[in-house]
């Protein structure tokens, strides 16, 4: 396989919050500390190296980019203070911006837009809340049309709908 390096990629990562990407010297403490790496094909060190080498298409299109739970074990142990989770988040942002979005993730994002919450309310939980003496609908954006309108304006201003491909 021949990779076509994109040397702008590192700068894109840096501009999106992954400032420390070039600090990595490939010791592998991250991979050794990663719980996901024990169960999946995700290798943290490899992903960071691919980023440094400008392997944009290979990283942004890889499933492995999404196997990190953001547990921060790598960040805690990195001897170079590389903010690895921030680098992964930066690459994920770039992947989503390039149109790569999984269905399950899109559903969560759609729920945020629709409800202001990542999960919707339902009749079962309304009944449970009532039985506990809590208001059926919690006093969040779910209970206020004006608050939801404000929330919608924030979403509109950041262009979130468009970003997730809606």
């Amino acid at each position: 396989m021949t990779a076509t390096p994109n040397m702008e990629f590192v700068n894109d990562i840096i501009a999106n919050g992954g400032e420390s990407v070039n600090m990595c010297f490939q010791c592998g403490t991250c991979t050794a500390s990663c719980p996901s790496g024990r169960m999946t094909s995700f290798r943290t060190r490899r992903l960071v190296r691919m980023a440094q080498l400008g392997m944009k298409d290979e990283t942004l299109n890889s499933d492995e980019l999404w196997f990190c739970t953001t547990c921060y074990s790598c960040t805690e142990r990195c001897p170079r203070d590389v903010a690895i989770v921030d680098i992964i988040v930066a690459m994920r942002n770039l992947a989503v911006a390039s149109g790569k979005m999984y269905e399950g993730h899109k559903k969560t994002a759609q729920s945020l837009i629709k409800n202001g919450h990542t999960v919707p309310i339902n009749d079962e939980v309304k009944a449970q809340r009532k039985a506990l003496g809590l208001p059926e609908v919690p006093p969040t954006v779910l209970a206020s049309k004006d608050a939801k309108k404000d929330f919608d304006k924030i979403m509109k201003a950041t262009g979130f709908k468009k970003i997730i491909g809606e």
Partner: protein, 284 residues
């Protein structure tokens, strides 16, 4: 010292899937002298593992709206979820450190007549109990001492990133164990105690088979360590263990949020804990 007042930030999973956590938190705070006010009009934090992964700007702007609402009301924020704590604490930190980002976010907030000045402190229920109420006061308030063998589950975003959270040793913490043991329960040792539950970062919503591998390994270690109940401080970890055990075979370990454990120990009626929302039966 003036008594602190907190806006009770509900988040999503607690009020909409495990309302007993919300109810227990309200009752426990009232009993321990933590003054909660309703946090009206808040949205999702938004979730750090998913929404931040999709678009950092949307994440920080929506978080800033929540932070600004609390600031306007003149109160600090109390969360009961590591995800909410992670998002709101980390966003507040970023906005505090990065004047340019704060300016950019305030341009967006101006559209809804809000401004965030950077003055909101974000706290987690567990550390407020540990640091502000203190274990001496908790021990004196226990009415129903609990004889339970507990697997404590810290989750990830409570202590980490530890350079900004600065609550406890992220590799070998003791805060939650001490809080659990204050009720009379015993915190059981286990292998790989600080391993993630598997739900975060969008794994549960898209790659649930992998998420379940994390969950199963944790459950195995808990069982091998002799625990009979899980005590968490995050409704998302809570959901992952509670619902996950229904999918896995061979496990039926009740899952309690710290607020529910404390409600029980402080003598509140079991009916008030909202245990009927749990899929793994809680028989204590």
């Amino acid at each position: 010292m003036a008594k602190a007042k907190y806006a009770f930030f509900l988040g999503c999973i607690a009020p909409l899937r495990y309302p007993g956590i919300e109810k227990s938190t309200r009752d426990v705070c009232a009993a321990l002298g933590i003054d909660l006010v309703d946090f009206n009009d808040a949205s999702c934090c938004p979730a750090p593992g998913v929404i931040r992964s999709f678009d950092r700007k949307t994440w920080v702007a929506a978080a800033a709206r929540n932070l600004a609402l609390a600031e306007k009301a003149g109160v600090d924020i109390l969360t009961i979820c590591n995800g909410c704590y992670g998002s709101l604490f980390d966003a507040a930190h970023e906005l505090h450190e990065d004047a340019e980002l704060l300016k950019e976010v305030n341009t967006i907030l101006a559209e809804i007549g809000l401004e965030y000045k950077g003055g909101t402190t974000v706290r987690h229920f567990a550390e407020v109990i540990y640091n502000d109420v203190g274990m001496d006061k908790v021990k004196k308030a226990i009415k129903n001492p609990l004889d339970l063998k507990v697997a404590t589950f810290y989750g990830c975003h409570f202590l980490k990133p530890s350079d900004i959270k600065q609550l406890d040793d992220p590799e070998n913490p003791s805060m939650l164990d001490k809080m659990v043991e204050a009720t009379g329960a015993t915190s059981m040792y286990r292998k790989d105690k600080m391993m993630c539950c598997g739900a975060g970062g969008g794994l549960r919503s898209e790659f649930s088979d992998f998420a379940m591998k994390f969950t199963e390994e944790n459950l195995k270690n808990m069982k091998d360590g002799g625990a009979e109940v899980i005590v968490d401080i995050c409704p998302f970890c809570h959901l992952q263990f509670d619902r996950g055990q229904k999918e896995l075979k061979g496990y039926s370990m009740p899952v309690l949020h710290l607020s529910q454990l404390y409600a029980l120990a402080l003598g509140m009626d079991k009916k008030e804990l909202g245990l009927d929302a749990h899929l793994t039966p809680v028989k204590l």
